[in-house]
């Protein structure tokens, strides 16, 4: 701010100009900015592709589409939009079953590892859980069909016999065989598949609970479970929601296992023990893709677009839930 004593024409050389780390700092800034931008570009490219490729099928009248695409049968009440509706329903039903089973189990395991198990056991167990994630989904599918489904069928029978009056557990129509290749089985296999990711993320979050808050709870005479309710769960809330959403993301998009296990169908039925009622978007696309003609592929991509939108909505919902009580999150 004060007047310079040096000559007005050229600024004098000084010791406060550049330093050795300046270039590397700039390079890294551009690298990280570039990596961030890449995500946006990829996302935009996928969205554009889906929209552009789905448009021909979406724009076509259902009669025309019925004539060109083999799997769309408007005369059976299956226009493209209706099929997408059934598939969204089926996808959500199966994913929700998976989530309802996996989340409590995963949080239980994560808590055991982070707060109950002796250190050695915790490490081993954590490693085993991570191994579950390494099993390919086609193997889960095979195991589901060969082992789990025959094992579960008697339980389904039992449920249907005694609780069949609840629409959820309604038995198959008389004459139909009780196969067990139903939404419930697909949901259970998916639950096992998403267990590792939910467990791993929850465990990390639980381990980061500040000792300060755990001690605050214990020092006022909380039992370990009360301490967990007071300090660990509230602190880990957003992390648990994030973990669940990661699991849901995987469940929504899972193809192979569902394809192999379920006897597919297109309905809005709540009966998760009846075969030929549900299918998921991903499994349906995989099933129809090899036989599809050009317009058929466009139609399948329209279904893919629907899956993309659902996943996006689920994630936005999760973000909203997390941000709702930001003041109380403990992030400050």
């Amino acid at each position: 701010m004060t007047q310079s004593t040096s000559s007005p024409e050229a600024p004098a050389e000084n010791d406060y100009g550049t330093h050795p780390g300046a270039a590397a700092n700039r390079v890294f800034r551009w690298l990280s900015t570039g990596a961030g931008a890449l995500i946006l570009i990829t996302l935009a490219a996928v969205a554009t592709f889906l929209l552009a490729e789905a448009w021909p099928a979406l724009a076509m009248s259902s009669e025309e589409l019925g004539e060109t695409v083999s799997f769309i049968k408007p005369e059976d009440g299956q226009s493209l939009m209706e099929i997408i509706g059934y598939l969204i329903f089926g996808t959500l039903v199966i994913s929700i079953i998976a989530l309802l089973i996996a989340t409590p189990v995963a949080i239980g395991i994560a808590l055991f590892i982070s707060h109950y198990a002796p250190r050695r056991l915790a490490q081993g167990l954590g490693y085993m859980i991570d191994l579950l994630a390494a099993v390919p989904s086609v193997v889960y599918g095979l195991w589901g069909v060969a082992v789990l489904v025959p094992f579960l069928t008697p339980f389904y029978q039992f449920l249907a016999d005694y609780l069949g009056f609840i629409p959820l557990f309604a038995p198959p129509e008389s004459g139909e065989i009780f196969t067990g290749r139903v939404a419930m089985s697909a949901g259970i296999v998916l639950a096992i598949m998403i267990l590792p990711i939910i467990t791993a993320v929850s465990r990390e979050v639980f381990l980061q609970t500040p000792t300060l808050h755990e001690e605050a709870a214990l020092a006022m005479g909380a039992t370990r479970w009360e301490m967990i309710k007071m300090a660990v769960f509230p602190f880990g809330r957003s992390g648990m929601i994030g973990a669940t959403m990661l699991g849901l993301g995987r469940a929504l998009g899972e193809t192979m296992a569902v394809l192999m296990i379920i006897s597919p169908g297109l309905t809005f039925s709540a009966a998760i023990l009846q075969p030929n009622q549900h299918n998921t978007i991903a499994a349906y696309i995989a099933l129809q893709f090899p036989e599809a003609n050009a317009m058929g592929v466009n139609s399948l991509i329209a279904m893919g677009l629907a899956l993309f939108v659902i996943t996006l909505l689920v994630n936005m919902l999760a973000r909203w839930v997390v941000s709702r009580r930001k003041d109380f999150s403990g992030a400050n």
Binding site: L212, E215, D327, N332
Partner: protein, 259 residues
């Protein structure tokens, strides 16, 4: 509500390491007892054995007795969870639960014992505890705000309110002012002087002036060197400790020759 504490021949171990050796002392009810000493001398560790909070650290254990009005905290049929409901604690860094409101923080400990608390009961207890902690006037209009929205000194008084809401027999304070500015420290010290009418207070402090200002009796702990156990050097009335201590080490420490 306030009780006397007698400690007999207490050793504290972390695994095989002897952290505090052979401490015997008595703490009078309705008084403030200060533990002073250099870092690592085991005074905080020792404080934690008075409500069994050291057991939170894996491998920590004690030998000896801690008698609160004659009941040995380490006797059979004593549950550490119950012990901590009778012996409250305030920590070095303020630790209100960030996910709870100010009012919920105060009620947190009380709710552990009383599942059903009526609205009016809860309101009364919140006001009583916050008034007890000299915080009521500052927060009465924002009881539903998160505890973490307060300043550091206010947060620490909130923690004290939380501790006294369960009406403990004893209140342990582990360097409660070391993270606070002088004004907030003064507020806590004034509060301690008021609280000693009702509670037995034990405070660990690094600040010798603080010990001299607030405490009735002072215990000096010292350590011979790294890896050696901490020991109680001497304990006496605070004015005596700070004017005519009987041990050379005490005199060196309080006169600022080391530590």
């Amino acid at each position: 509500m306030s009780k006397r504490i007698d400690i007999n021949n207490l050793n504290v171990y972390y695994g095989e390491f002897l952290a505090v050796e052979d401490v015997s002392l008595s703490i009078e009810p309705k008084s403030i007892t200060a533990f002073i000493g250099p870092s690592g001398c085991g005074k905080s560790t020792f404080l934690r054995t008075l409500n069994r909070m050291h057991e939170v650290i894996p491998g920590a254990r004690v030998e000896g007795e801690v008698l609160i009005d004659g009941v040995n905290l380490y006797g059979d049929n004593v549950d550490p969870v119950t012990v901590r409901r009778h012996v409250g604690m305030v920590f070095q860094r303020p630790n209100p639960f960030p996910t709870m409101s100010i009012a919920e923080n105060v009620l947190a400990g009380y709710r552990l014992n009383n599942k059903r608390v009526s609205k009016s009961q809860a309101d009364d207890l919140v006001e009583e505890s916050l008034r007890g902690a000299n915080l009521w006037n500052e927060v009465k209009d924002r009881l539903d705000r998160p505890g973490s929205s307060l300043s550091g000194g206010q947060q620490q008084r909130l923690c004290i309110a939380r501790a006294i809401a369960i009406k403990p027999d004893v209140l342990l304070m582990d360097e409660p002012c070391s993270a606070l500015d002088p004004i907030s420290t003064l507020a806590i010290e004034d509060l301690m002087a008021e609280l000693k009418d009702q509670y037995t207070i034990v405070i660990v402090t690094h600040n010798m002036q603080q010990a001299a200002r607030v405490s009735d009796r002072t215990a000096f702990f010292n350590i011979a060197g790294t890896g050696k156990p901490g020991k109680l050097i001497e304990m006496n009335e605070t004015p005596v400790m700070f004017s005519t201590p009987s041990e050379k080490a005490t005199e060196d420490y309080i006169s600022g020759r080391f530590g």
